[in-house]
Symmetry: C3
Subunit: 360 residues, 3 copies
């Protein structure tokens, strides 16, 4: 599929992975994740090299994963180290791919490309994810049957809020607000702001809960920043007219998209608020609204759009381009350049799925 490989993708939230094996497909590759006895996260190719059983149906034994069919055991490097049958021989070449995984900054990251290039220092940090004194995160996960580009478009796009999220996240005044797009290093950002306008129903609810009654008009702003390959850091805030951002309510959010296949994506989201840090019930209330917006509105729309594309290339469809699309267009082109650069650097990309064996 068309997506960068030599880069860190979110594999999941730390709580997604336990000692029990978990399957997850990333960049069309079937993977199995498990934690060793000391909690270290491991990612292996999910197909046994012997008779092609799915390893996630097996058991973790010590620091190895046992194949559920014939009991071959693979260590954390993907090397088969045990065969319970007859002479117990395995081929030294009998191994499944192992993928670099790192747990950092509140996210489990995976590197699907050339392991030699997997540099942890390049992992993007989202400070609000791991600053419990200032931000309280609310996290979730969706498996969306749409190409990852459509999710990125949606997450950076302000305009659709007005229509698709009318009644939930929509702040109508932002439609006619100040719009700015720019670059910051390799990142691309999109900003919108509007003064003295009606907040979204969700922010209205939050404001009343935190600050009590008010005029019903606030200054609003939202900023989204894309980092390669598919990471969105986003902040939404509102405050009393003319006051600095810091005095208002903010949610700092990250939206981590990971291509599963050409036709489906993993979507990890975290909404992190800078207020009512100890209010457990607010988590539940917010989750109801977020689930409605993300599942009933965004997910349904993105899957419908994906079906409408029906395998055709987005650009070949000649989309009408509007002013509000300037950010998403920049980002699509940046991703396309990353893919093209990888294809150029290796006419024949390194084959990662290696099931070759010396016959025993």
């Amino acid at each position: 599929m068309k997506a960068p490989r030599n880069t860190w993708y979110a594999a999941g939230w730390p709580s997604d992975f336990t000692a029990a094996p978990t399957q997850r497909t990333i960049l069309e590759e079937p993977l199995v994740f498990f934690r060793t006895s000391v909690g270290k996260l491991v990612a292996l190719h999910n197909i046994c090299t012997h008779r092609f059983a799915p390893l996630h149906m097996g058991k973790v034994i010590g620091d190895t994963l046992e194949c559920p069919y014939h009991g071959l055991r693979y260590n954390t490097s993907g090397v088969c180290v045990f065969n319970p049958d007859l002479d117990g021989q395995v081929s030294p070449r009998s191994r499944v791919n192992s993928y670099p995984v790192v747990e950092k900054g509140g996210v489990c990251w995976i590197w699907m490309g050339d392991p030699a290039e997997a540099d942890e220092a390049k992992i993007v940090d989202f400070p609000f994810l791991h600053s419990p004194d200032t931000y309280r995160p609310l996290k979730g996960y969706l498996h969306v049957r749409a190409n990852y580009h459509l999710l990125i478009d949606n997450l950076v796009d302000v305009a659709h809020g007005l229509i698709l999220h009318a009644g939930t996240l929509s702040t109508p005044g932002l439609a006619k607000g100040h719009h700015e797009v720019g670059r910051d290093g390799d990142g691309i950002w999109v900003k919108r702001s509007a003064d003295e306008c009606v907040p979204s129903p969700v922010f209205d609810m939050l404001w009343r809960r935190v600050r009590g009654d008010y005029t019903g008009l606030l200054d609003h702003w939202t900023e989204a920043r894309w980092d390669a390959p598919t990471l969105i850091s986003q902040v939404t805030g509102s405050q009393v007219h003319g006051e600095p951002h810091e005095t208002g309510l903010q949610t700092r959010n990250c939206h981590l998209v990971t291509p599963a296949t050409e036709h489906s994506s993993h979507y990890f989201w975290a909404i992190c608020r800078n207020f009512l840090l100890d209010d457990d019930r607010l988590d539940d209330d917010m989750r109801v609204g977020i689930d409605y917006a993300f599942i009933e509105q965004d997910e349904k729309m993105l899957e419908a759009v994906h079906r409408n594309l029906n395998g055709r290339d987005f650009w070949d469809m000649k989309p009408a381009l509007l002013k509000g699309d300037s950010g998403t267009v920049l980002i699509r082109r940046a991703i396309d350049r990353l893919v093209a650069a990888e294809n150029q650097s290796s006419a024949e990309p390194a084959k990662r799925i290696d099931t070759s064996q010396v016959p025993s």
Copy 2:
């Protein structure tokens, strides 16, 4: 798909379409239908040219249809006339296809071919559909997962009634009755009749309800007429032996088939009786029998046959041809000629789905 384009197809019954947008795929094209504030029926291509959202999920606002994703509004000609975001600019080329639709004679018709050739005068009329003083129509709709040719074959064919509809619509005596096939202008008709034979259970029920007890033997006749592209007008009657047709009971029926895709069809039917015009309960009783025959018998059979064809061409399958097939063979060949003629007249058919845009 292989079907005539420059012709009027039934898009639906007038009651199928309201102010709320309705989707329907015709000739593989996704369409959205809605009525304007004055009730005028509009058909547009159902995919927004901006980010390819399905327009039928949107709202009708005045005489425009609002895209559910970003709120672009399309007028009845398919031109985008409003963008709620930022500068509000849209490209003058930002438009979706609009299709000629006409409400006439109790049917909503659509023209999928070259709009310049859409001549309302060519629409086939079914007088019994709109003659409430003489005929009372009972209408229905089925979405059948079978190629439209199979539906036409079935609707013109008398022979299958004896077997497939044994116990409902079957008049066994017709098997050995008088059989005739002919042409009338561009139409093709098939007639069967048989004297003094046992009526179908349905006609027996009707006769007793309308005329009381009788000998159990009647003269029977049925005529089906095909008009291009896929319209069947059919009459079934029975009367006391030797009496003229006019003295008996008749249902005049129309069966309007519209290709949805190569593998599915819209089927609009109306059974119009010339008796008990004010009997509401009879509608319910008839519907039970019709639903059983059409859904449990015909639809199941046609979908099974379609699966058996499995994408292969009907003629390549070398069907055994029987005397009773003479009508359906003529009709299949007439439709094939219409398709061939269209393909000849335009080596490259006009591309209807136009999503090209000038970037704003």
Copy 3:
């Protein structure tokens, strides 16, 4: 699909087929089975040559099968002998394929290849299936969504029992037992045995039920024999240490695999015990355990493996070969040779699905 054709496959157990038509796809061909008035089993191609209706939806009338759509009747040779409509004419060439079927040794067999070569003497016999004085069979059937090779692999393989069937059929001691593979005529056999080891939970239950308390250690042995094309005869036994096999408990089993499509298989199994021949309740108890092992363990695994292969060739996947695989590798290669030999002997294989007709 890649499977031998000139050979006898199991079509089903005798009780699978009654006077009512039954459909079953074998080697990608849709078939209909029915019994005539004298109980003779007939297999015909399941698609009517007239309008391609599925014959299994029809009725058996005398010794003919009536098409459910137009009532054409086919005799046991597949010749259309009756048309109820109009002149009643059928073409002498109007016929569907008829396949040699033989009921022999407790199994219904079908020959999908050249009928001239269908020699009943070549049918493999499983004496324990029809020796009620010595063996009591318990039979079953599964439709498995996996290629037939995967089923054969599984049925001959001893090693997976240890892991996949831990808690049911597993006799762990066999893992380190004596292993032998050999040929006997055209057959291939695999043997395993181990002395004084803990029996499987199932054999432990059986031993206690038949012989009462014991030390918990027994001698164990299992032998599987493959015969072309896809027939496995298998025996599992255990006895007191040092005693001859005949003194112990045995189940003699046959596993008859018939390719349905490239992606699905019919699996007919019979477990035949040489003890408690009159114990009806034991049948029920054994079926619970067998169903769990075959459905919850083997079937789930094989379908998962088939999905993992995802249409790729098994050998192209370069499976790691272990010592325990020696039997299954011999068998795969023997089947491959049968297929290759058939392909060589007829560059263009006889077309079996003949729907050609002289128009009447």
